[in-house]
């Protein structure tokens, strides 16, 4: 497809469903553990037996209040629940308990960063609702199975304003939400397991147009990369349609990650009318000021605050600080390493360089790192105190990764201490100069580039253990003679 971006602009809004990591369900005492045998975690309330009633799990209020604070939003009190009516076999009551008029979180914003700079995205609302069960079609010849384990699991649906204008911004926003929910420890944010799901509303219009174009909703895209691709595809498809003189149909579309396309979901013959009305089984909830304050007192440091602190406390660059602070586990690891190494800059480089490479190679999370923060800290402090060179440290790191040994043990066993004795280095240099009279001649007649050759020879002679700075200094003075 040709690049249309000059004439057109995209208008994107995201609806993100976050599964809250409570022990029990939103309105029942049943467990929310993932992966149990079908229907073993569905109690009378989840099964919607005649006569059962919902009782709100208070923990979700705390979680929602924290999210509201992190999104710079209002916390509504009273907040109230509503019934959203629709028939579906995995929706046991025939309605979903959700929020309509007074969502717990309303009117916030989130600052995101892309290559094009910073941007503020409005957050319309975040409301509590219950998840549905699952329909299973594979194992039942000509029939469907229903698993209600997930039914009633608490969700927070976070709805953005239609203020996102590119797939890059959409991903930055999504990643930022992901980072926040992980920091707040209100969800594991695992997109592959469905604990964070994203629906994208996309429309396009000619630049300068006031009126919004017809939008489509692309559902349940389950990774950051797919969100980016699905939105990009949808923008280009819509522009292509419009430029070809066609109209956009307001519809729900599914992203096909294999083909990298979106296609319409089997369209219903009539539009859904959810017939929302206030849930009479749950009274509106008044959130007392003291309760909100008590919850806010438990707020952790958030990614933006951490990033700023990393810059001011550790003199990291904005970029490094941002990368480390985006993931709470990574940020914690960095601080632990720094505590031992006393060298924030070097610690940051090692974590984002060598360590990240190894983690990526073996597809491990930072928490699963084979070199602990303490051990990495020790390694870095051995570079700092001059015991080993940076180059040797890389070899040692490889050994630590595979053997689990500590840095000092490896240095001792393999005699890898850096040579820092001027006399010893001088002896090696003298030998190298004596062995290479031709190169010496050429160097002295003006071929400066050969300096590197001599450094290499000295390092080789020292098996890499000579302190490079000392080698440089001494070599320079010897060659000038």
């Amino acid at each position: 497809m040709k690049n249309y971006s000059e004439d057109w602009e995209a208008v994107i809004g995201l609806e993100i469903h976050v599964q809250l990591s409570t022990k029990s369900k939103l309105f029942s005492g049943a467990s929310t553990n993932f992966g149990a045998l079908p229907n073993t975690q569905a109690c009378n309330i989840d099964l919607a037996l005649p006569g059962v009633l919902p009782v709100l799990n208070e923990e979700v209020l705390r979680m929602a209040i924290k999210l509201g604070k992190a999104l710079n939003a209002e916390i509504n009190s009273p907040t109230s629940f509503a019934r959203k009516n629709y028939f579906y076999p995995d929706s046991p009551k025939g309605y979903q308990i959700s929020q309509m008029d007074r969502p717990i979180v309303e009117d916030g914003y989130l600052d995101i960063e892309t290559d094009k700079g910073a941007k503020r995205i409005g957050v319309t609302r975040a409301h509590l609702e219950e998840d549905a069960g699952k329909s299973l079609h594979d194992d039942f010849e000509g029939q469907s199975g229903i698993d209600l384990n997930r039914a009633g699991t608490p969700l927070l649906e976070i709805v953005s304003e239609p203020e996102i204008s590119s797939s890059e911004e959409a991903v930055a926003y999504l990643k930022s939400i992901h980072s926040i929910i992980r920091y707040l420890e209100i969800s594991d944010g695992n997109m592959a397991e469905g604990s964070m799901r994203c629906d994208a509303n996309v429309s396009v219009r000619k630049k300068g147009d006031e009126k919004l174009g017809t939008r489509t909703e692309t559902k349940n895209v389950n990774s950051f990369r797919f969100v980016e691709k699905a939105i990009q595809y949808e923008i280009e498809r819509q522009i292509h349609e419009l430029e070809s003189g066609n109209k956009i149909t307001q519809e729900t579309r599914l992203y096909d990650s294999q083909a990298n396309t979106t296609r319409p979901m089997r369209s219903k013959e009539f539009a859904n009318d959810y017939r929302y009305f206030p849930e009479p089984d749950l009274l509106p909830i008044n959130l007392k000021k003291e309760f909100i304050e008590e919850v806010l007192a438990t707020m952790p440091e958030m990614p933006n605050q951490k990033r700023e602190r990393f810059v001011s406390q550790f003199s990291l660059s904005e970029y490094d600080a941002g990368l480390l602070a985006a993931d709470k586990d990574l940020a914690d690891f960095f601080e632990e390493v720094t505590k031992v190494s006393n060298s924030p800059k070097l610690s940051a480089n090692w974590i984002m360089g060598e360590l990240s490479a190894e983690l990526n190679n073996e597809n491990l999370s930072i928490k699963e790192s084979k070199v602990t923060s303490n051990k990495l800290g020790q390694l870095i402090s051995r570079i700092e105190d001059g015991t080993i060179s940076g180059k040797i440290a890389k070899d040692i790191f490889e050994k630590m990764w595979s053997s689990g040994k500590e840095v000092d043990a490896i240095i001792k066993d393999e005699g890898l201490e850096q040579v820092t004795d001027d006399k010893e280095i001088e002896t090696m240099i003298d030998e190298v100069i004596a062995n290479n009279p031709e190169q010496l001649e050429q160097y002295r007649s003006g071929k400066d580039r050969l300096f590197g050759f001599f450094v290499g020879q000295v390092m080789k002679a020292s098996q890499g253990k000579a302190n490079p700075k000392q080698v440089n200094d001494i070599l320079k003075s010897k060659l000038e003679k």
């Binding site: 009378n44 099964l47 919607a48 037996l49 005649p50 006569g51 059962v52 009633l53 919902p54 009782v55 709100l56 019934r83 009516n85 028939f87 076999p89 046991p92 009551k93 025939g94 309605y95 469907s144 229903i146 009318d273 017939r275 929302y276 009305f277 009479p280 089984d281 749950l282 009274l283």
Partner: protein, 484 residues
């Protein structure tokens, strides 16, 4: 001994003193049910074996002096209360095969006090009806005259207590379903304040209006059981955080100096002269007991019926969505696909009145109609509640007829739903405002009983029972029982 002629307190005394056993008392009622229920069809399920084993356990406890507060007293439960291991049908084909896997809080509270369940009483399907003619298990007859209806929806409960097949029965009231059948069967029926009794395990019709209570032979009997049913339940978020009241003690206080309000809007309506006369006589009794009678105005009360017929169907349309044939209850034969399963299950499983209300409610909540119907009805509901609050600043109770007339013949109103809905014109306002209401017998016309209604301020059940008890201590209407 005619054990069924004893009041609940007398039966309890008899059990405590060992004059008879719970097994004897229970067997006595079971044999009356066996003998007479064919005529009135007041039970859907008779739990004879379970009752006798509960009675036996009660007798053991009496023997060991470990007896519970209401030990060994029999009771019938409306088939709207889930009872573990027992068929719980709500009067519908939809649940005609549903054996509840858990018990309602009401059942559990009474069970913990030692009460013996005789069986589950017939009712209008999903509590929708005022004549008990919509039950899948056949119509219930009025023991005073079996050509007449017992009222509804708690028709089975009223009918069986009136015929003395049970000494007392639980019931529920969404728009009058306790008070109207109590009135038509000559009983004392009380619907407490919304939230006084837990709704957990009570099959929902209209969640913001439904409330459990009892139909009894006297205010004293009603107080004894209602207080045992009451109290906060963490399983019901709308249940009030209050301990159970001591109604049995409080009802004996004097009403001297208290004020009765007569809503002029009710009395301006044309009513049969026999009702007017009975109510006037009742007012005279109260005056003679030292109560003062004043006129009050409930200016929005005429909106009650239309408000109710929007809110109740709206809530029921959602509450009854769970009956889809997927997990329990009736399921249609050989569904082609999921749509067919939903549609035919509901088409075949629900009766006409239930379908009518689901349709009305679905319509009232639809996009484009919500504001005009549901939202407006909720606002008007607040106006009705405000009228009551204003009135209760100057009076203690509000008195009116319970129903526009005595009972009517079976089939008489089934073809005209509006005529049927008018049965609840006096009772609905208390549900809209969440207030306690009570009906007691106060007269008779052509061999059929007639009731008056007392509505009290929020949480003032004891005051209502005081008024009922004083009246019953000075009159005999409540002592009249039908010959069956």
């Amino acid at each position: 001994m005619d054990l069924h002629k004893l009041s609940l307190n007398q039966q309890l005394e008899g059990l405590k003193k060992g004059e008879f056993t719970s097994t004897e008392l229970t067997s006595h009622y079971i044999s009356r049910i066996t003998e007479f229920d064919e005529q009135i069809n007041s039970f859907i399920t008779v739990t004879e074996d379970m009752a006798l084993s509960q009675a036996k356990a009660a007798d053991e406890r009496y023997k060991n002096k470990t007896n519970l507060p209401l030990d060994g007293l029999p009771i019938a439960h409306k088939d709207i209360f889930c009872t573990k291991g027992v068929l719980t049908t709500c009067g519908s084909k939809m649940l005609s095969n549903f054996e509840a896997p858990y018990s309602s809080t009401v059942y559990e509270k009474l069970d913990k006090e030692g009460m013996v369940m005789l069986g589950k009483t017939n009712m209008d399907e999903f509590a929708m009806g005022s004549s008990n003619e919509t039950s899948y298990f056949g119509p219930v007859k009025n023991p005073w005259n079996t050509e007449y209806v017992p009222g509804g929806s708690s028709g089975g409960s009223a009918s069986c207590v009136s015929a003395e097949l049970a000494p007392i029965a639980t019931a529920t009231d969404t728009g009058g379903s306790i008070r109207q059948p109590a009135s038509l069967c000559g009983l004392t029926g009380i619907k407490p304040t919304y939230g006084r009794v837990s709704r957990y395990g009570m099959i929902a019709f209209a969640s913001s209006l439904d409330q459990a209570g009892v139909v009894a032979r006297s205010a004293e009997d009603a107080a004894l059981i209602l207080e045992a049913m009451s109290g906060h339940d963490p399983k019901d978020s709308t249940s009030l955080k209050l301990d159970k009241p001591n109604l049995s003690k409080e009802l004996k206080s004097s009403i001297k100096g208290m004020k009765i309000g007569l809503p002029k809007e009710f009395f301006e309506k044309e009513m049969p002269s026999y009702i007017e006369q009975s109510i006037e006589e009742a007012i005279e009794v109260y005056k003679s007991l030292g109560a003062e009678v004043v006129e009050v105005s409930l200016s929005n009360i005429n909106l009650s019926l239309p408000i109710y017929y929007i809110i109740a169907p709206a809530e029921c349309s959602a509450n009854l969505s769970r009956y889809d044939g997927v997990r329990y209850g009736y399921r249609c034969e050989n569904p082609i696909d999921i749509e067919d399963l939903f549609m035919r299950t509901r088409e075949e499983g629900f009766g006409a009145e239930v379908k009518r209300r689901i349709l009305i409610g679905t319509y009232a909540l639809s996009a484009g109609y919500y504001d005009a119907y549901y939202l407006k009805a909720q606002k008007c509901r607040q106006l009705v509640a405000n009228d009551f609050s204003e009135a209760f600043k100057s009076v203690d109770v509000i008195l009116s007829p319970t129903t526009p007339g005595t009972s009517f013949k079976s089939g008489e109103k089934t073809s005209d739903p509006i005529e049927m809905y008018l049965q609840d014109i006096f009772t609905i306002p208390a549900n809209l405002a969440g207030l306690p209401g009570l009906s007691i017998p106060c007269g008779e016309h052509q061999g059929l009983p007639l009731g008056m209604q007392l509505v009290g301020n929020s949480l003032e059940e004891s005051k209502l029972l005081q008024f009922a008890y004083s009246y019953q201590s000075n009159t005999d209407w409540h002592k009249k029982m039908p010959n069956i």
